[in-house]
């Protein structure tokens, strides 16, 4: 059986799904395109790694601290968004990515180029959990994240964020404090991204600066846009499909990334709202199916 393989692919896909849900709040709701989300990811992973290897905490005791720290650092890193916007913000986030990578690579406190080794698997009741256990933990965090995102999407906060994203001036004239909501988005986004970083660090067992490169950030944004910007289902779907897609192409090993890159470009152009976003291909198919079912029910 290839159980472990599928399990570990699923674990990583779930971790990325959590991350993309976080990115969705920032980029999907407030339309602040982030091409540096690997930096937020790195902050979660590195904070956890440091707390575990240097402070000797366990997975569970370090987790709340890491999440809190990710949130705070996320807000600090979001501060430039109050001054700059649009394409300047995109490039600023790219910059944050490179700066965070540079700092982790050049300062020995963060392990430097040698990375941080020895991030052990979490334990429950003194017993180390295996791959399956870890997958279940990841999955439950994913479900938790989905729940929070769902609940959040029903609140006024999300409307305020979307208004901020659509037209900042108009939102301000409606009495929305756009700065607060931008920061709010950064805080929520970096929290989820930090959580994803924690889970990732534990499942790999080590962190190296180059794991959080700009290419990763591009992949993250691609996942979100591929699935459907601004929707929870799209974020989860995008993360799973784009993570698993290259695995499907294993049989054309050498041409795998070529096909991947080309497809990414084509699908984004053909389906700018994402495959599962509003008005996307699958979205319409599902809507049609649901409608058909409703119709047949009415007839019967």
């Amino acid at each position: 059986m290839t159980f472990g393989y599928i399990l570990s692919i699923a674990t990583f896909a779930s971790i990325y799904a959590i991350l993309i849900l976080g990115l969705n709040i920032l980029t999907g709701y407030t339309k602040q395109v982030s091409l540096g989300h690997a930096a937020f990811f790195a902050i979660g992973a590195y904070t956890q790694a440091l707390l575990i290897t240097k402070a000797g905490l366990t997975f569970w005791s370090a987790l709340p601290l890491t999440i809190l720290l990710s949130m705070i650092i996320g807000v600090v890193m979001g501060l430039p968004s109050l001054r700059v916007s649009d394409d300047f913000l995109v490039l600023t986030t790219i910059g944050l990515n490179f700066i965070v990578m540079g700092i982790t690579e050049y300062f020995d406190f963060f392990g430097g180029a040698m990375g941080i080794i020895g991030i052990t698997m979490p334990t429950i009741g003194g017993k180390s959990i295996g791959t399956t256990g870890y997958f279940l933990i990841t999955l439950s965090f994913l479900l938790l994240t989905i729940c929070i995102c769902y609940l959040f999407s029903k609140t006024w906060g999300r409307l305020a964020m979307e208004a901020t994203g659509e037209d900042e001036d108009a939102a301000q004239s409606l009495g929305i404090n756009t700065s607060i909501y931008k920061m709010y988005a950064f805080a929520l986004s970096s929290t989820f991204t930090g959580l994803a970083g924690v889970l990732w660090a534990h499942s790999i067992g080590s962190v190296f600066p180059r794991n959080f490169s700009f290419e990763m950030s591009v992949l993250f944004l691609s996942m979100l846009v591929f699935g459907g910007l601004g929707t929870i289902r799209g974020a989860v779907f995008g993360a799973f499909v784009l993570y698993i897609l290259p695995e499907f192409f294993r049989f054309i090993e050498n041409y795998r990334m070529l096909v991947y890159g080309g497809m990414l470009a084509m699908i984004v152009i053909l389906q700018p709202n994402g495959i599962l976003g509003r008005g996307g291909l699958l979205d319409r198919c599902i809507l049609r199916l649901v409608k058909k079912k409703a119709e047949t029910q009415e007839i019967s």
Binding site: T2, L7, A113, S203, F208, E253
Partner: protein, 389 residues
């Protein structure tokens, strides 16, 4: 039209999924291989994979593994640790490989090592130097040279043989460059040299003139610049350009014909520490160098040699003790004077890292030439055996 295209694409995904179900394999002994074929490390991945295939062909021509064919199953990890860890699981569970070999950089190798240790499957890395790879556990070995040894050899050669008193360091900032530089520095300082300049540069850097001008001002006897050949070629040619007149010394990362091709005549006179002796007349080395060139149309490099050796060593062990993991590991640690490899003979394994005599090579007339060889146990052993064995 748009919708049609999309549907076709979605169908393709599904089809691909169905197609990737493995075909039934015949009775073979399988070894797994992960290596970066895509991304920035693709060149090293290609070298090590082609060399590994070469070794597999050699083994199968010479009787296979106890009559069974040796089969190499390789996956591309893109130099990403998460892919490496998933693929290692795939190799172990799906392909049921006897041994996993990593022809990849340190970060993915470490991730794979942890998985193998958990699953109790023998693992070996080919050229990754990070100390933590073998620290993952007793199932993990290393074929390439451990960084502390290589850095130490460099230090001895610079300070003792060349007599350099003032040394400048230009270090590639990844685990490879940093761990080499640390060992080098320690040795050189112990032997009475002085470090007059030290700077780290990131992987992929191409412009070194501003550093080299500063180094020139510091007036060293020798510049040690651990790194890979792509960056090294730039360092060496730019060093000659800014008029830096001192010994230049590198490491096994330079050991590729591409280094000489890129650095052109500036490469002449550069010393490197390596274990692939191109002037050697050992039959295995000659076989590897010739066949590799025949196969890929490119001259072989050190990375390839490590991949070749890994497969050779693993198949030797499999031939001796079969495919049971514990037998393999027990035998592995007792190996002495293994000769069937392209690099210098592997004397033994210490702390699960291969120990072999170390060569200093020099570039002369646009070729790597043998220059000096270290046999002393206190230099080439990870922990020099007390009493001198």
């Amino acid at each position: 039209m748009r919708r049609f295209l999309c549907i076709v694409m979605v169908l393709m995904f599904v089809l691909c999924g169905l197609l990737s179900v493995d075909a039934m394999a015949q009775e073979t002994v399988k070894i797994g291989f992960i290596t970066p074929l895509t991304g920035f490390a693709a060149a090293d991945g290609y070298s090590s994979l082609e060399s590994a295939k070469l070794a597999v062909d050699y083994v199968n021509e010479h009787g296979g593994i106890n009559g069974k064919k040796l089969e190499l199953i390789s996956y591309d990890d893109g130099c990403q640790p998460d892919q490496a860890s998933a693929l290692t699981r795939k190799l172990i569970e799906n392909d049921k490989v006897a041994v996993v070999i990593s022809g990849s950089y340190s970060s993915p190798s470490r991730a794979a090592a942890v998985i193998c240790q958990q699953a109790k499957v023998p693992f070996t890395s080919t050229y990754a130097v990070h100390p933590s790879i073998v620290e993952a556990g007793e199932y993990c070995h290393r074929i390439g040279m451990a960084a502390p040894i290589q850095g130490r050899v460099g230090g001895y050669f610079a300070a003792r043989e060349l007599g350099a008193k003032r040394i400048a360091l230009l270090i590639m900032n990844n685990d490879f460059g940093v761990s080499l530089a640390e060992a080098f520095k320690e040795t050189a300082l112990k032997l009475g040299a002085e470090i007059v300049y030290e700077k780290k540069y990131p992987l992929g850097e191409t412009e070194f003139r501003s550093y080299l001008n500063a180094i020139k001002a510091a007036d060293p006897d020798l510049l040690y610049a651990p790194g890979y050949y792509n960056e090294a070629a730039n360092i060496v040619s730019q060093a000659r350009e800014v008029g830096l007149r001192c010994w230049l010394m590198g490491d096994e990362g330079y050991d590729s014909p591409k280094f000489i091709e890129l650095a052109k005549t500036a490469a002449n006179g550069v010393f490197i520490t390596t274990d692939l002796n191109r002037d050697s007349d050992r039959p295995m080395t000659r076989y590897f160098l010739e066949k590799y060139k025949e196969r890929t149309n490119i001259d072989a490099d050190m990375v390839g040699a490590s991949g070749f050796d890994a497969v050779m060593l693993v198949s030797h062990i499999l031939n001796k003790v079969g495919t049971k993991a514990d037998d393999i590991i027990r035998y592995w640690d007792t190996i002495e004077n293994f000769e069937d490899c392209a690099t210098g003979p592997i004397i033994t394994f210490q702390e699960r890292s291969a120990i072999r005599p170390m060569d200093i090579q020099i570039v002369l007339n646009n070729q790597f030439r043998y220059f000096y060889r270290y046999y002393e146990p206190e230099i080439i052993y990870l922990n020099p055996p007390s009493g001198g064995k």
